[in-house]
């Protein structure tokens, strides 16, 4: 009885496994008999999982093994690349079909506004269509790490075309962009430090409506993440000045693709790339650098004092929370460098510095051991007096003995 039950369970499990292992690829789907490679790659796609079959895109008849009758009717090979966006849009632009997946339906419309889409519409068959980025049969969901459009994989995916010098040459595009991206802070954060929130190509260029940010829009694109830096930039003299001089805003100092972070210590040398050495602007840069570095130094000293006090131990909870406050001021001061205004930066660094100095003074007073040392000296005075009395007592004993 028991054995029968076990056999039944096994049989059920195997049946369930068989059904689950090929969902959507029903017994009627015969295309793979002649197209085994496509079948294998399609099997791992998100479409296969959701019941989208070969005929959904290609048409034809998937119930027959006869080549002639399989490819009859509305069969399309999709060998003409320009057809592809329209075919994908049959489902992906349909609100009704996408609603259950909560997927957006504007990709096709966006694509048509992109450089890729416009080129394809203009008869250029080398520009990217949906399958160039997403793959043809093995289309995976964007949150699948194996997907070509997964965040970390995007620089590679774009680079398949954009790093190809021969392909980019007729468009006058720089094939170094992906290599440059990798060498910049964004690329390092995403690819080396595995920070999945770090920007990839699409973060700045758009996803389906991909286009380079145009001159005058750069600060908006960068500012979508670097809000405080942008606000400071717009408030400062650089904004108007750069527009007038036709300099590419943020990219003028931070470069594009090979984005560079400018250390506080290097501010002045960065200024002298445009401004003359010794000019008022370079001096201002030096001044701002000094303000921030000096505040940083004071904070470090305050922190060291706190650690020192902790070892004694003194009560430092209050000092620690004020140190945190000073740190916040300093953090806030950093983006204000983009105002290129000494006053704006100085207001915050001054606050950070004065708190740090206050902490140092207070702890210094508490660390002062003068009272303890005076107490120790007093104690030794008392001890020496006691010793003197004891010695005097001993001498009297000795004298009494020699006397007797």
């Amino acid at each position: 009885m028991k054995r029968n039950a076990a056999t039944m369970t096994n049989a059920l499990a195997i049946a369930a496994l068989l059904v689950l292992s090929a969902p959507g690829v029903g017994a009627t789907e015969q295309c793979g008999e002649c197209h085994p490679e496509e079948r294998v790659s399609f099997a791992s796609s998100v479409h296969a999982r959701e019941g989208v079959g070969c005929t959904s895109c290609h048409g034809g008849d998937d119930t027959t093994l006869d080549s002639q009758s399989a490819h009859r009717g509305e069969f399309r090979s999709l060998s003409d690349r320009s057809e592809i966006p329209g075919v994908c849009a049959e489902c992906h632009a349909s609100q009704e079909r996408m609603r259950p997946y909560n997927l957006p339906v504007d990709q096709y419309a966006l694509y048509q506004t992109s450089r890729h889409g416009m080129a394809v519409a203009g008869g250029d068959d080398r520009a990217a269509v949906c399958t160039d980025c997403h793959g043809a049969h093995e289309i995976r969901a964007a949150d699948d790490p194996q997907s070509t459009v997964y965040g970390r994989n995007i620089p590679d995916t774009c680079g398949r075309c954009h790093a190809d010098a021969a392909l980019m040459e007729p468009y006058g595009l720089d094939p170094q962009v992906t290599a440059n991206y990798r060498s910049g802070v964004h690329g390092k954060a995403l690819l080396d430090a595995h920070q999945s929130a770090a920007p990839n190509c699409t973060s700045c260029h758009g996803v389906h409506g991909g286009a380079p940010p145009s001159f005058g829009d750069i600060d908006k694109v960068c500012g979508s993440c670097h809000e405080k830096a942008r606000r400071a930039f717009l408030a400062g003299a650089h904004y108007e000045g750069m527009l007038a001089a036709e300099l590419p805003e943020c990219a003028a100092c931070h470069a594009h693709h090979a984005i560079r972070q400018i250390d506080v210590a290097a501010i002045a040398s960065s200024c002298s790339e445009c401004h003359d050495q010794g000019s008022a602007q370079v001096l201002l840069g030096e001044k701002i650098r000094t303000l921030i570095l000096a505040a940083e130094q004071e904070l470090q000293k305050a922190e060291e004092r706190i650690r020192e006090a902790q070892r004694i131990p003194l009560e430092v909870e209050d000092h620690l929370s004020r140190l945190e406050e000073a740190r916040t001021y300093l953090t806030e001061a950093h983006p204000l460098v983009h105002t290129v205004s000494q006053e704006a930066v100085e207001e915050l660094t001054r606050r950070a510095r004065s708190i740090a100095e206050e902490i140092q003074h207070e702890i210094y007073a508490e660390l002062d051991r003068t009272v303890a040392h005076v107490g120790l000296a007093g104690f030794w005075f008392y001890l020496i007096m006691t010793l003197a009395i004891l010695w005097a007592y001993k001498r009297r004993l000795r004298r009494g003995k020699s006397g007797s």
Binding site: P313, H373, L376, L383, L387, L390, K394, L397
Partner: protein, 373 residues
Amino acid sequence: MNGERTGILEWLSRRLNLTEIFSLLTSFGLFYAEVDNRKPLREALGEALGRPSQSYARGPRILGLIVVVLIAVEILTGGLLALYYLPTPESAHASVSTIMRHVGFGWFVHQVHFWGAQLLVAVLILRLIRFLVQGVYRAPRELVWVCGALLLLVCFHADLTGRILPWTSGAYWSGVRALEIIAAVPLYGDVGMFLIGGDQASISELTLIRSYILHIGLFPALAVLFIYLHFSTVRRVGLSEIAGEVKEVGSDFLRNHLANLAILLVLVIGVLVTLAVLVPTPFLEEADPFSTVPGVGPPWYLLAPFGFLELSSAVLPSWAAGTVLLLVFSAFVVLPLLDRTRPRRGAGPLTLGLAVVAVVVWILFTFYGARVA
């Protein structure tokens, strides 16, 4: 005044055997004499002082007295600390922090307790070196040496268990390093690990509370026991002889001896207070068993075995190195049985040579241990 005091003493002596109590006090270093318990106090004291004797609060013998004074200081300050200390991993660090920050003179008592322990171990080592050089381990003073050696080992353990108690990161990892050494020693390590409730490299909740119990219970009791045995054997076999020393008689001798004792007490307290105020031991952040603090070695007196284990790990399996340690420590305790020659005074040249080699090797291993730690 005088009559009244005599009255009280007489009143008491009819109800208590005062001679016996006095005799007990002499067993803990107050005075060296054999006292006849059956006689009244005055008579017994007069008789004891009538026998010519030496003061031991003088010359190299003061090391032993310093030990007694330091153990008394440790018991006193330890009792005060125990009023506020809580032996659980959650509250140990916070309670020591309270002692050091908020309790009046708490930091001072803590520092004196710490420095007292360090001095105690150092003085015990010096005392054994003097025993060795002056031959105070030969018949009939074998027990003087054995008690001294065992007292040193007890103080190692008391200091070790005490170090863990504040539950600071330094203390914790220093304790772990020491446990690694103890665990390497066969037999003794097994018993020790069982008692302390830890294994080779971890300190658990049980370890803390067990360390506390050993620290305030077993080890002080053993220390007091060995001091008692030491004075007992000294009363029976007499103080060690120092060349050119005159034995004295009479009550002036007792007064002189007590004055010496007082001077010694004052000096020891002076040194302790100075160290506590000028060189306070830092109080580090709370221990985190999941993050090893780099550069923390075992306590200074265990650096030599630590260095030896580290150095020998390349050539010897750990049990073999542990066995060597066990043999060395056992030989150290039973030295009087190993060296039974009887020169007139001091250690024989062979023993002295071996001892010098042993001390030098110990110091070298200490330096090596400090470097690898």
